[in-house]
């Protein structure tokens, strides 16, 4: 297993704490099982790459590293959207995945109906967190950003195209479009959200978008590789789950995919040159993504 960078562990801990608080602090009078299902997936062991991308991007774009704390609500919202997408992705009507994050999938644990409700609960909570944490202009911008990443040209479109492509030969451009929407869109939104909280300029935004775009695809390619070569004990999900789908490995083989993932990470790093030494955490992050085994 690749070594997790030190800054990453600290950031992970902060995000975990914020996620826990966001789903437990507020008074609750609903059906406990839905909240339990939400927290089950949201707080399950995870790398929190997207959330850390948000807080780190915020720290890089601002004058002080303490700004990262200001981006925590946005990071929490991003993680909620991501957890929601995982629950939906694993449903029997979709990928029908039995395991996620090293434990039974949400629908296996709580049933399909509760899982669907938990997913929608997380999705709406995400927007609630943003609305309550930020001033209206920033909140509006972040909500628009998230809605675009999730909506019919984002995650949902990617998931739909992915489902329709199962057991079908797809071309390379279609595969890229699926990945861009399913993975890349939220990666880009995560980086952009952090930059927006810091009040970053256009150049910084563009640099972070280029970083996130390349890193997102590298992340997905590594995912495809791990689906072929990974150990379920390490990855926390079943291997060969994507056997019926066309993946990057289908086009390039495992070695080629590894080479491309490394190149994408190098390109992502190159996009951060304008940030100088402030970019160190994100450079560590891309190195971690390129070498990850889980």
């Amino acid at each position: 297993m690749s070594a997790i960078p030190a800054f990453f562990r600290e950031a992970q801990a902060r995000v975990e704490h914020a996620l826990d608080e966001a789903t437990s602090r507020r008074p609750f009078s609903g059906v406990p099982v839905v909240r339990e299902a939400m927290r089950y997936t949201l707080l399950a062991p995870s790398k929190r790459v997207r959330a850390i991308l948000t807080t780190t991007a915020c720290e890089m774009c601002g004058p002080s590293t303490s700004l990262g704390a200001g981006a925590l609500p946005a990071a929490v919202a991003i993680e909620m959207v991501h957890a929601s997408s995982l629950i939906l992705d694993d449903l029997p009507s979709m990928d029908d995945a039995p395991m996620r994050r090293g434990r039974p999938s949400c629908h296996v644990q709580y049933g399909e109906a509760i899982a669907a409700l938990a997913a929608f609960g997380l999705l709406s909570e995400a927007f609630g967190v943003i609305a309550s944490a930020y001033e209206p202009p920033l909140a509006r911008g972040l909500a628009t950003l998230l809605s675009s990443a999730i909506g019919s040209d984002g995650l949902i479109a990617g998931q739909a195209e992915d489902l329709l492509a199962t057991d079908t030969a797809i071309d390379f451009e279609t595969l890229e479009r699926i990945h861009r929407r399913k993975t890349g869109a939220l990666f880009s939104a995560a980086a952009t959200a952090g930059a927006m909280v810091a009040g970053a300029g256009e150049d910084q935004m563009r640099a972070l978008e280029a970083y996130a775009k390349n890193l997102g695809l590298a992340f997905q390619i590594v995912d495809d590789m791990l689906d072929v070569t990974g150990d379920p004990a390490e990855t926390g999900k079943a291997v060969r789950a994507d056997a019926r789908k066309t993946t990057f490995v289908s086009f390039s083989g495992v070695d080629g995919a590894r080479e491309l993932a490394a190149e994408l990470c190098r390109t992502a790093d190159a996009a951060l040159k304008p940030f100088g030494s402030k970019a160190s955490p994100l450079l560590e992050l891309s190195a971690f993504v390129a070498a990850r085994r889980l």
Binding site: E176, S252, L260, A270
Partner: protein, 638 residues
């Protein structure tokens, strides 16, 4: 549906096309090519971007080679920048138009081709790219080869580096052109699914093709050269002392027939001594108009004008460039320079030592450690920095004008005493010249003759400006006879008596010159005296190099092209080796057997050890004044 990538290279290309990975060249070349701009707009934009790339890469290469082909064109770093900039713009415009035209043609073809498949599109783009690569590699290699011929032989390492750079430039431009054509085809037929990539985007193919280009360019370079480069430093020039110092007086506009008649009458005793010694005919090249800068440089270097680089007295200086081009434009330069003339981008200038790329005999002697002096010879300005005396063809003008020295005299320490003494020297020369020609009744004729005589007397006076040890070689050029004859004979006088008076004045000038020669070359057992008698603008077909001195025996050398042998003969008499690349051997018929036995001809590969660097120009320039003076003396048309 586009074909799926078959390997990692293709996958990488497709990802680049989708905005991933780092593809700065592709992004730069295509620019907004993915937008919905029209075909013509895309073609123009891409053409402009590729043109800029080509301009930057090819313009600098062409400037390096052009500077080598036209010595003297670049005199300063600023000149190099201006020339590189101008050629970059030229290449940028030509390439931009060519690429834009090709892209429009590709789009036109794509709209009409019924059977355009992705495979065919990639083949079209690859063929175009490979053609560009080959043309570019051949062009750059030939330029490099030309630059080397003119400059110097470089080591294999440098050649390999230059050729590798040429191969890389060729590949880059080939990739760019291929990319533009593929994009133009894809934009015109989006439904065929032509995707980015292709042969010239494949790293494997580019690497292999680059190796082929490199090997081909090396082979081309080797085939185009008679001998390969060498790592050896130039051979040192050594001297075997002969006991004799050599004194050379060069007289322009000399009529041997007239001189022999006057000599027979006992009117030229000093010249007669020389004419009775060794005799080497010097014949101007048939069919060529006389040009003092070209002809005297040929005599001084022993190399033809194509080699020594001074093609004519008149040169052209480009706006913004300190250096100059001599001679009529040739080859691909012709249309460029004519266009520059029309646009007033060039101005007239005078040929100078900057343009000369072969060493003169006095420079070879100085490089061997002999103490030398040269006075008033053509194209000697700017004088090289050093201890040897070089009083250039602009020295008289500088002494007349005053002001800060601009490499007219070397060593510079000679200038100040001469400048202080100059008014007195001028006055004395004017008085002596007036006295010498007082018998000429026609005032205008007398003034013309006196002016020429003054010039010769001042030059002769400067030849004595040697504060150091005795000279091993002294060289003096006297232009007065040529100037006087040219002024007097260019227009026929109105009457026979006037013509007679002019001829008498010219004969008188020969006597005056004889007096100067007598004073400059008094008989001496320690010297070999040489007079180079050149017909100049007198319209005579033969001159001569005549020699006198202890080791010289009377003898007439028979040779077809002795002009090129003058320098090697003088070098031989100084005890210096003769370079293999000189066009002519020393003419030893006039040399005594004893001297030849003591001093057999020694050979040396080349005179590359001679430092040809000119002195730095730091003072007040006299470029315009030099041009004006040459006009007033009749060398350049007004």
């Amino acid at each position: 549906m586009p074909e799926n990538p078959q390997n990692v290279d293709q996958l990488r290309d497709r990802l680049r096309a989708l905005g991933y990975l780092d593809a700065p060249v592709d992004r730069y070349v295509l620019g907004s090519g993915t937008s919905r701009a029209g075909a013509a707009r895309f073609a123009l934009g891409a053409g402009l971007r590729v043109g800029l790339l080509a301009g930057m890469l090819l313009g600098v290469s062409a400037a390096i080679a052009l500077a080598a082909r036209a010595p003297g064109l670049i005199a300063t770093r600023r000149d190099a920048l201006v020339l590189a900039g101008a050629l970059s713009i030229l290449f940028a415009v030509i390439t931009a138009l060519a690429v834009a035209g090709t892209a429009i043609a590709a789009a036109w073809y794509a709209r009409r081709a019924a059977n355009l498949t992705p495979r065919r599109a990639r083949a079209v783009a690859a063929v175009a790219g490979i053609a560009v690569a080959l043309a570019c590699a051949i062009y750059l290699t030939l330029w490099w080869n030309a630059a080397q011929d003119a400059l110097t032989s470089l080591t294999f390492g440098w050649n390999a580096a230059a050729v590798a750079m040429a191969a890389l430039i060729s590949l880059l431009l080939a990739h760019a052109v291929s990319l533009v054509i593929l994009a133009a085809l894809a934009r015109s037929q989006p439904e065929t699914g032509i995707a980015a990539g292709g042969l010239l985007s494949s790293r494997g193919f580019l690497a292999a093709f680059g190796v082929v280009l490199f090997a081909g360019s090396i082979a081309l370079l080797a085939a185009g050269r008679e001998t390969g480069g060498t790592d050896a430093s130039p051979p040192p020039i050594t001297v075997v002392p002969t006991r004799y110092a050599v004194r050379v007086v060069a007289i322009d506009g000399f009529d041997l027939t007239l001189a022999e008649r006057l000599s027979t009458g006992g009117r030229l005793p000093a010249l007669q001594r020389l004419l009775e010694g060794g005799y080497m005919p010097l014949r101007p090249e048939a069919g060529q108009a006389p040009d003092p800068a070209r002809d005297w440089t040929t005599i001084a270097t022993g190399r033809p004008p194509a080699v020594h680089g001074i093609a004519s007295l008149e040169a052209r200086r480009a706006v913004g460039i300190g250096g100059a081009l001599t001679g009529p434009p040739a080859g691909m330069l012709r249309p460029l320079l004519y266009a520059a003339d029309l646009l007033r981008l060039t101005t007239p200038a005078v040929a100078s030592g900057v343009e000369r790329r072969a060493p003169a005999f006095w420079e070879v002697a100085a490089a061997a450690g002999l103490r030398t002096s040269v006075v008033n010879w053509w194209a000697t300005w700017p004088a090289p920095a050093g201890d040897d005396i070089v009083i250039t063809d602009r020295a008289l003008l500088r002494l007349d004008t005053g002001g800060a020295l601009d490499a007219e005299i070397a060593p510079a320490s000679l200038y100040e005493p001469l400048r202080v003494e100059w008014p007195r020297l001028r006055t004395a020369a004017a008085a002596r010249a007036s006295a010498a020609f007082a018998s000429i009744a026609d005032a205008e004729l007398r003034a013309l003759i006196v002016r020429s005589a003054e010039l010769d007397m001042l030059a002769a006076r400067l030849a004595n400006a040697n504060p150091g040890p005795a000279l091993d070689l002294s060289v003096l050029y006297l232009p007065g006879l040529d100037i006087a004859q040219h002024s007097l004979l260019q227009r026929a006088p109105g009457s026979v008596s006037a013509m007679r008076e002019r001829l008498t004045a010219i004969e008188r000038y020969y006597e005056f010159l004889d007096g100067l020669v007598g004073a400059l070359l008094p008989p001496s057992g320690a010297h070999i005296d040489v007079a180079i008698l050149w017909p100049g603008r007198a319209g005579i077909r033969e001159g001569a190099m005549v020699l006198a001195g202890e080791p010289i025996q009377g003898g007439h050398t028979i040779c077809e092209d002795c002009v090129l042998g003058a320098a090697s003969t003088l070098l031989y008499l100084l005890g210096l080796p003769i370079a293999d690349n000189l066009e002519s051997n020393p003419m030893t018929e006039a040399v005594s057997v004893a001297f030849k036995e003591r001093h057999p001809i020694r050979r040396i590969a080349s005179y590359d050890a001679v430092n040809m660097r000119r002195g730095a120009r730091t003072g007040q320039p006299l470029d315009a004044e030099a041009l004006e003076r040459l006009r007033s003396l009749g060398y350049i048309d007004k």
